[in-house]
């Protein structure tokens, strides 16, 4: 059950991305193109997702612990710091260049599109590079904080 639950959640998430059209870079770029033929679909996806996840998280707050785990793994850091802003700014530039963020990129690997596979490999390399640089920082005393997501 402990493995089945995340598998099911990933499956539902993937179908959500497919049905909403968010696996198609043209839909995402259509939303980001506020000066062109604007497509607000992504905003509807987010709003619907927020309503349902918000309700689920409210249920979680009334429980002591999750059904299949000993604890919840929420992010503990509450400060809006430089890595958050700089990292998000970089992420946004990459997202705007291609129209893929990590979820849709991974779903699209199933199409065996070579540019998508190269994109995902570069994405993994970028993540690994960040972690290597951060590990070096830990030696100098800056400890990494838990991930938000």
């Amino acid at each position: 059950m402990a493995t089945l639950a995340p598998l099911l959640c990933g499956f539902v998430f993937g179908w959500g991305l497919l049905i909403s059209g968010m696996t198609q870079p043209t839909k995402v770029l259509g939303f980001l193109d506020v000066f062109g033929a604007w497509d607000p679909s992504l905003a509807v996806v987010m709003a619907a997702a927020l309503l349902v996840s918000g309700a689920g998280f409210a249920l979680m707050r009334q429980r002591e612990r999750p059904y299949l785990a000993g604890q919840t793994y929420w992010a503990s850091n509450a400060n809006i710091d430089t890595p958050l802003v700089a990292g998000s700014a970089m992420f946004g530039v990459g997202w705007g260049l291609v129209g893929l963020c990590p979820g849709p990129a991974l779903v699209n690997v199933a199409t065996l599109s070579l540019p998508v596979i190269v994109f995902v490999a570069a994405m993994a390399a970028g993540m690994a590079l960040h972690d290597v640089l951060q590990t070096r920082q830990v030696v100098t005393g800056q400890a990494p904080a838990a991930s938000d997501g």
């Binding site: 909403s20 696996t23 033929a37 679909s41 785990a69 705007g96 199933a110 199409t111």
Partner: protein
């Protein structure tokens, strides 16, 4: 707004929200794809099991979709390999540095009204929109 698809967007959004709610209620985990994926590469990580299960389910979605005749269209990608590689590096490095992406900050973080996630989402939406404006409208 000729391309606006509100009904499929709402249905897909409900499923994404349901996935995030269930992953928290059942496993206590945040459905942030960059965090789930990136966490697989952390040396000595002892929590790869649930991450790989989630990613397996994610990939199973387009596979089953193809099987039931719901064809997954080939995504339109930039012709330039430089842009593909550069964008991938930026998305990977940036989402790791900012500790979240569209799912972790944009859905899960905002759903719990985290000021960090609201700030992150405003920043990446803004830089993404500016990037598209420069790429498409040349300024």
């Amino acid at each position: 707004m000729a391309n606006f698809t509100p009904i499929s967007a709402a249905i897909g959004g409900v499923l994404i929200g349901l996935s995030a709610a269930l992953l928290m209620l059942l496993s206590g985990r945040v459905a942030g794809i960059s965090g789930i994926f990136g966490g697989c590469f952390v040396r000595g990580a002892d929590d790869r099991g649930w991450r790989l299960a989630f990613l397996g389910g994610l990939i199973l979605a387009p596979v089953t979709a193809a099987l039931v005749g719901y064809g997954v269209p080939l995504p339109a990608m930039p012709a330039s390999w430089w842009i593909v590689v550069g964008a991938g590096l930026l998305v990977g490095f940036g989402s790791r540095m900012g500790k979240g992406c569209t799912s972790g900050h944009g859905v899960c973080g905002i759903a719990r009204l985290s000021p960090r996630s609201i700030a992150a989402t405003v920043v990446f939406m803004a830089t993404a929109a500016i990037t598209v404006a420069i790429m498409r409208h040349g300024w």
